[in-house]
Each structure stands twice: as C-alpha cells, then as structure tokens.
Amino acid sequence: MNALPKNPLPKNPLLEQFLSEARDLLEGIGQKLMQLEDAPSDQNLINELFRMVHTLKGNSGLFTFPEMTRVLHAGEDLLGKVRNGELAFSRELTDHLLSAMDFVGMLSNEIEQTECIDASRAADAVRLAESLRALMPEAAITSAESSTTAPSTPIPAQSAVAAMPPLTEIPEALRMEAFRRCGDGENFHWIAYQPAPDCFFQGDDPFLRARQTPGLLWGRVLPAEPLPPLAELDTYKCSLQFHLLTAALHEELAEYFRYVPDQVEMVAIDPLWLTLSERKSESQSNFSEAATLAEKSSPAAIENAAALTRLLAAQQKILALDDHPAWLSGRLKAVASVLKNLANSVGYAEAANQIEASLGTALAAASGLPLLDWLNAHQSQFTVKLVPQAAANESRSNAEEESSTPAADDGIKYGRRADDGIKFGRRAEDNQTGPRSLKVDQAKIDRLMNLIGELIVEKNALPYLAQRAEARYGVRELSREIKGKYSVINRIADEMQDAIMQVRMMAVSIVFQRFPRLVRDTSRKLGKEVQLVLEGEQTEADKNIIEALADPLIHIVRNSLDHGLETPEVRRAQGKPETGTLTIRAAQQADRVVIEIVDDGKGIDPAVIKRKAYEKGLIDEAALERISDREAVNLIFAAGLSTAAVVSDLSGRGVGMDVVRTAVEKLNGSVIVESEVGKGTSIRISLPLSMAVTQVMVIESDGQLFGVPMDNVIETVRVPRRSIHRIKQSMTAVLRGRVVPLKALNGLLGITAQPRANMDDELSVLLVQAGGGELGLLVDGFRETLGVIQKPMAGFLSNLSVWSGSALMGDGSVLMILNIREIV
C-alpha cells in the first residue's frame, strides 16, 4: 500500500465500479471453482461460473484492457466447452483457471494503481490464454486460435534470437542509415507481423497498423503464402504479412502491438547484422551466434570457455575479411565494442585501452589487421581471466548455501530468514494490495455516528463541570484547566464528527444520472423537445438525504415535462425556442443542499390554482381572496390538487407534488415554487447536508425545557402584554405590520400554568413557521441554541406525535424536541 501512485489520479467512476465489481466477481469465480472441484458435474455451478466469467469479460471490454479481455475470453471459451459437456471438469482445469484469475486480479490491482496495464503483460496474457486453449479438445480450436498457435512465440523479452531475420531485403542505403543510428545508441527491432486471417472481421486494418508503427524505418508487405488466382481469392481473409524495421523501444512496440501480440514476432537487431547481410552465405551462422552471445555478455551468461572461444573466433573471422566495403569503419567499431564487452565481462580490465588503441590504428589504416593482431596476441588472456572468475562464483554460491543451512535448523533465531523462505510459496498473494475502497455495512457507520453523537453530548458536560468546580468548590484553577481541556476535546470531537459525516456523504450525481434517460423517454412520449442541463453534480450530502431525494425529484421532473414545458408548436407560436430547457442544479449553501429544478415552460397560473384549490375545498372563500399569488402557486403541494385537465400515465393524479412535500419535510427540508406565467417555473428544494445533527432552540415554559428545531423558528420577540389582542378565544398581535395569531405553549401541551411575563410585563413570543403560516408561541423564556443528535422516540412513546424526538443535554438531562407542525 505504500507504493500507491505519486499523484492520485482523478478516478473515473465507471472504472472504479468496474474494479469493485471485478473484485467481487473474481472472488465468486474462485469460490465456484473450488466448489466445482468437489462436485464436478454440478451443472448449475458451471452455468453460474460461466456467467460470471462472461460478465467480467464483457465488462473488461468496455475499457482498453486487451490483456485482461484476452485471458478472460479464453477462460470463457474453455468454460463454454465444459458447459456443453465437450470437456470434463478436472483439477488441471481448475489450476489453470485459478491462475488465470490470479492474473486478472493482478491486472485489476495494477489498473487501480496506475489506471493502465503495463504493456509487458501482453506476453503473459498470450501465454495464459494459450495454456487455457490448450486444454480444449482439439476439434474445438477455431480459426482464431489456430493463428494464435501457428506462427509465433509470443513477444518474449528479446531473448529469443532464433535466426537472423532476412535483413538483406532492406535496401542498403536504409540499412546503413540504421547502422549509423545504432552507433548513436539507437536500437532496432525486426518485426514479422502476420495478421490473423480473420482480422478484417474484427475491424482490423493490418496495413494501417504496420504503416503507423512507431519509429518505422522500413517496411514491406508480402503474401504470407502464394496468393491464389484472382478467381479464388477470398477478399475477407487476410493473407498478407508485414516485415518492419523500427527504431522504437521494445516496450513501445509491445504497447503498440498489444492488441495483436500473438501475431507479432520481434527480434532485437544486432548492429553487426546490418553490416553483414551482404555476405550471409559465408558466415551468417557465426555472426548470429556471436551476436547472441555478445548480447548476453553479463558475467553470468558467459559461463563456459567454449562459448567465449567461439565468440572470439567469430571476431577474428570478421577482422580477417579482406573486402573493403564502405561501412568498414562501422564494422571495426562494432568488433571493438564486442571485444571490449567481452573483456569487461571476464574482468580483463586492462584490455579496454589496448582495444581502443588498436581500433584507432585500424581505422586509420582502413583495415581490420591491427585489431586482429591484438586479438591473436591476447586471446589467451580472455580464457585465463575467465577460469578463476568462474571458480570464484562457484565457491561464493557454495558458501551461501552452507551459511543458510543453520538458518533452517534454527528457525526462531533466524526468524527473518525463515520468513524469506516462506514467501517463496505465495505466488498469488505476492503482489496483492488491498482494495482502496471499502464496502462497509451502513449499520457500522451508523454505530460510529451514534458513538460520536454520544461523545459530543458528553463533551458538552465539561463546561458544566468547570462551572461547578468554580461555583460550588471555589477552585478556579481547576475550572480553567477543565475549560482548556474542553476546547481540545471539542476540536477533536468536531473533526471526528466531520470525518464520519464525510464517510456518509455521497454526490448528488448518483441521483442525477438517471435523469438524462428519464427526460429523454418522457419527452419522446409527450412529443416534446427538451434539453436537460445538469449542474453541480459533485455537490455532496448525506447518503440518507440523497437516497430520499430520488423519488421527489422524479416527480418534479415529470411534472415539469408534462405540465411545464410546451410542445414545439406552442413554443414556436409564443416565440420561444422549440427546444425547452430543463435545468437541474445542485449547490451547497452553508449547511444545506439546495436543489433547483427550473424549466422555461408555461409557468403556473395562480388564478387557476386558486380556483382549483377552492373547488377541491382546500381553501375557503376568505382565503381565496386573501392569499397572494406566490402563496397560491405553492398550493400545488397541497394534497389532492392537480391542474392537468386529463389524468395521464405520467402525472395528473394530484398526488405527485404532495408526495414531494411530505418526503422533503420528512428530511427537515423545505420546498418552494416560484413561477411566472409564460416564462417558466422554478422549484427549490432545500435540505440539510446531514440529518445527524439538528440545530434546536431551547425554550423554557413552566420551569421545563423544550427544544424547537431551528428550521421552524423565524424569530424571537418580546411583546408587551397590552399589545396582545383577544379576538374571541384566540390571541393575536401585530408584528412588523402583520397580524400573527398567538398561542400559549402551555395551553397546547395541556399545562395549566399561564405564560410568565418578564419585569417589563412583556411576553416572550417564539415566531415559528407552521403549516404554511406563521404562528407566535408564548413561552416563558429563551435559552441557547444547541446542536443535538436527535433520537426518535422509542416504543410506546413513538405514538406521541407531539414530540419529534429527544436529545441529551450537556448536563445529562433529557431535552424533549417539539414537533411544531403537530402541536398547532
């Protein structure tokens, strides 16, 4: 886990989902494979296994992970055979499939860390896929696979220098250019690219691929087999092959050909080959061998003197050539560098300078003789140097073996070493980094949330304690220290709460992502042209809020589409663009999320709403006259109101907007409509970011404390007793020019005591928002506002709808939270 990416990449959510699913599927596949070993004939298990591998393969195809897809595809084919009864399930099969799945798992880890697969995996993928296909019954191998097995060894790290490629085909000028560039430190590869016969069907264009090979210096196309007469030619079968010479690096080429690694054969070119091609008949075999060995000229590679001798002999032969080609100097340099490497590898240090000197002479004389003379004179030195070094190597390894023996005997003492030994057997686990995201049961997070809630409440007890220490016991010092500690604990607890809330946060995009489809389908059905604009998808809020938001939003969007936006003809007639715009916008404002759904449709006519509401008996005649247009528009949220003349399958049953309001209010949110006839409608939903902490205002009445959610509170005022008017049984007061009904909290709660006034004979009025109107609650006094963790009433008490819940106060007492809507 320490070697995580240096710069955290912006994650693609689709990719993240793929990885998490892949991990689950791999685990499932592993389990099923094990189960199948015990019950090899269980058809259900096989079907399930097949389906899982198939799903995983399909998913991997969404991304550019050909290595993964290749292996999974082979596994799928194999399982298909098993499913059709063409192949019996065997332990060997399980082994291969398990190792293939380990490979896929490793790739997933790699993708997770770097978002791509290293090109070097392609060869492994081919090998694995081949080993899987090798398990299939012969007859089943289709054309696609036959090409896989036929021509090639997969791109191995450039070790296999089987035979020298036909470099003579390359025009000499180009070959010389390549040779010159080799001298500048470039490396060339020869590529034989034999496209699969059916590659056209896969949308492949081998010629294009060949043309665009990175670092391409030369290339040619030729028939893989003699082309048939025109009449018999199959246009859709690729029967060409390509030879390429490129200066690109091996990794680069492996990456470029990663989709067709099985069709490509790559050979690293030794510069010597480029110079030699002319005289291939004579000494090709020697040279290629020499080149092979020179390439491997690390001390370990040259282990026997015979190889060395052969190598030196080859150099002698080259030098002895008596032709004088234009590239003689290059040839001499090449020989000199081979000699130097050889000398280095056997530890013949003083050779380097001598070779340089001889090379200088040779170049000046334009002849290989000076170098040849030197080589003849010093050849024996090479072998002499080699022998002791080999002996030293051997003795060193012996010593190591010996020293490790006691370690095995004394496992405890050499605990670290013993560990090293164990690691050997853990192939599958070696590279395993844990997944970086956790799937956690929500209950566990909720528990954390509860615990932090308790901690916050307990922490609030400290100031009381400090007060008591000072007031009761008179120890001021201690009181101050407690306060100091309190501020530290306060900070940590707050941060912890924040962290836990973050865990529960989700982006609104989770809900938003279903709208494009919904809008498209719905507008199609209605014959309307609608453009959907989503904004602020990254806004985050608590998981519960986000989830509860989905349904109300769908209602609103449907309503907008059905009632709000007009058909193209109507819009055109009104001079609006034919395509209506529906904007869904989310933003965070302080500790609330605000979601706006705005359309540029026909708007809501308050007159119509008023009339409808009156007809349905939702408002009385007096209200009909009194309410403002703004209030009228908000009547659409009242239960049982629908403005659409006809009930459609989309909306019009008059439940939609009512449901919206209920759902939003359940989340302590509010919803407001603003609309202008002919211009459009905007619906604003405002929700708390998190439901965990509720802000409440503490009030006092008849010596008891109660909490009122701050969402309900409009303001607190003191009203002189004489400005309160009694109209029949009810009290009213004029506040800021408005007539506000007043009710005594005591009365509402069935407490007989009268509201108490203060010294100036003023009554405390808590102005609250309740059921669409304002109401003044007469209380005895106001206290502080608190952030509390509200606990719902449990058991029998939950039937008391007057209370929305209870909370613990800092001094340990219980605060009952009023449900304002219910008591008025």
Binding site: P195, F200, D205, P206, F207, L208, R211, G219, R220, V221, L222, P223, L227, P228, P229, L230, A231, L233, T235, Y236, C238, S239, L240
Partner: protein, 80 residues
Amino acid sequence: MPIEFKKNRAVFQDEVGVEEAEGLLEWLQKKPAAKADLSNLSHLHTANLQVLMAAKAEISKWPENAELRAWLQPALKPAV
C-alpha cells in the same frame, strides 16, 4: 466514391476502406487488363492491397504520398 471505376482504369481517392475490396475484386476479374491510378490515395485497407497484389494489376500512377509509395511500389511492381 473512394474508388472511381472508369472504362479501363480504377481511380483511387483518399482512404479506401475494407468495404471496397469486394467490388474491386469483381471489377478486376472482369477487366484483367485494367490499370489503377493511385495518385490521390492516402490509405488503402489491407483487403484492397491484397486484391491489387493478387490481380497483379498494372499501376498507371503511383501515390503522391511518398511514404505510401515506398510501401506499395515493391509490393505491386511486376517482378523484373
């Protein structure tokens, strides 16, 4: 049209995709003596290249694109 079939001459334009190969093959079968004008060709799908190679069609004009010409000339020139 990526390939314009004239009386005795096929004129290749820009990029010639795989879907042309079948038509090209049929046309060349009917007119074995036809020539191909590749001067404005920028890319030829492998399938078409294969057909041209098999038909040993005579090339009246080589592509102006030098890189493409370097590929096509050795493959399509009649062996001397």
